[in-house]
Symmetry: C2
Subunit: 201 residues, 2 copies
DNA sequence: ATTAACATATGACACCTGTCACAAAGTACT
DNA sequence: AGTACTTTGTGACAGGTGTCATATGTTAAT
């Protein structure tokens, strides 16, 4: 019997998956949770065989959970199931040694098969993503640049950002300038779009 | 027997819902499609009792489909099922006389109940959204302002936008200026964020 | 101790943005 | 024709933005 936990914030999908997984005689959904915090509690207490984690959840993302599971040396397999084919996400997932990375665009049967494979020690990655792995573009932005771009994304101006980060506005402009060059774009707006797309901020 | 079509671009959710709806003895899923174009073809041909439509789909959005169904005077009930609680979306849905507007955050049972109610001529709206309807803020932006903001969202500069819309850059700046004032924000970036949030662009 | 690399800052420059007052042209209604 | 309203354009101004050359202090590597 494969004991799995399902962490997914969209109730409709979570409920549906739980119902369907329960029909499989070798799979048991021991918990279904709607946020990363609850997921972490359950995972520590129950140590499931396979953790099925969405990325974008409240409190803790699936990727942060994968990281925690890794550093705690828990013997759980981890599968990320997400809408997003962002290279940055996949990269981070690989860095956390996750055992599977599936898109929500896959059929359920593929998910079920993947659970069995992962439980057996195999690695599973959605077809479309295998290619992405080889062309892995690493995030060219450093910490400061990321912090600045994230604030630009919120709509803050150079001045507001400088106050928030305790830097002069000249420095902020320099970071933005280097970000724009690194991303080969032409404005802060485009920089934010590109970086979001790739999952870098 | 309630004949329903399911239009949802995320295969995993679509498949799961189809399976679960099929267990209901009074509901028959006559078609499941992944984009708005195919949905429209099936709806015209089959005239289902209830159309369950996601909003963000390729080719045609669920809201555009609702509009088409309305003007074609097809005797189908329409239910929008979406991730987004954006007032603008709900507003548009109401303008198209849809019979239901559910969030994907609801449990499946609620969806099933809703299908029966809608089929009976009742209207169904997710709890959290009922309030939104009363505080309906109408989109203060005019067509031009919307067009400009959409291009800003893509990351285009004033100059690029002016070329695309065959207007001078002065005019673009004026539109942006009025948009910024109407949205009570302080930069194009914030204007884009606010307008996206409300579902106005 | 020297070199290199990094984070932060500065000032100058050309250009872009947001605002405003105003104007020309078109449409619609009276 | 007269009035009001809408769409688009202009020019000017203050301030913001992106780039660059350059400087200073810090840390890490040789």
């Amino acid at each position: 019997m494969i004991r799995v936990i399902l962490a997914e914030d969209q109730q409709m999908l979570r409920g549906a998956l739980t119902s369907l997984l329960s029909f499989e005689s070798d799979i048991q959904v021991i918990a279904e949770v709607a946020d990363g915090q609850k997921a972490w509690e359950v995972i520590q207490r129950e140590v499931p065989d396979v953790c099925i984690l969405d990325i974008e959840m409240p409190y803790l993302t699936g990727l942060e959970l994968a990281e925690k599971i890794k550093v705690a040396h828990l013997p759980c397999k981890v599968m990320i199931v997400t809408t997003f084919a962002r290279p940055g996400y996949l990269q981070k997932a690989m860095d956390c040694d996750v055992n599977g990375y599936l898109l929500k665009d896959e059929p359920i049967d593929y998910l079920i098969e993947a659970i069995r494979k992962v439980n057996n020690g195999e690695k599973v990655v959605s077809r479309d993503l295998a290619a992405t792995l080889f062309m892995k573009e690493l995030n060219p932005l450093n910490e400061r640049e990321i912090a600045v771009l994230e604030l630009v994304k919120e709509g803050l101006t150079t001045n507001e950002i400088s106050k928030k980060l305790f830097l002069t506005k000249g420095t902020i402009r320099n970071y933005l300038s280097t970000s724009i060059q690194k991303l080969h774009v032409e404005s802060r707006q485009q920089a934010v779009n590109t970086a979001s797309d790739k999952g870098w901020i």
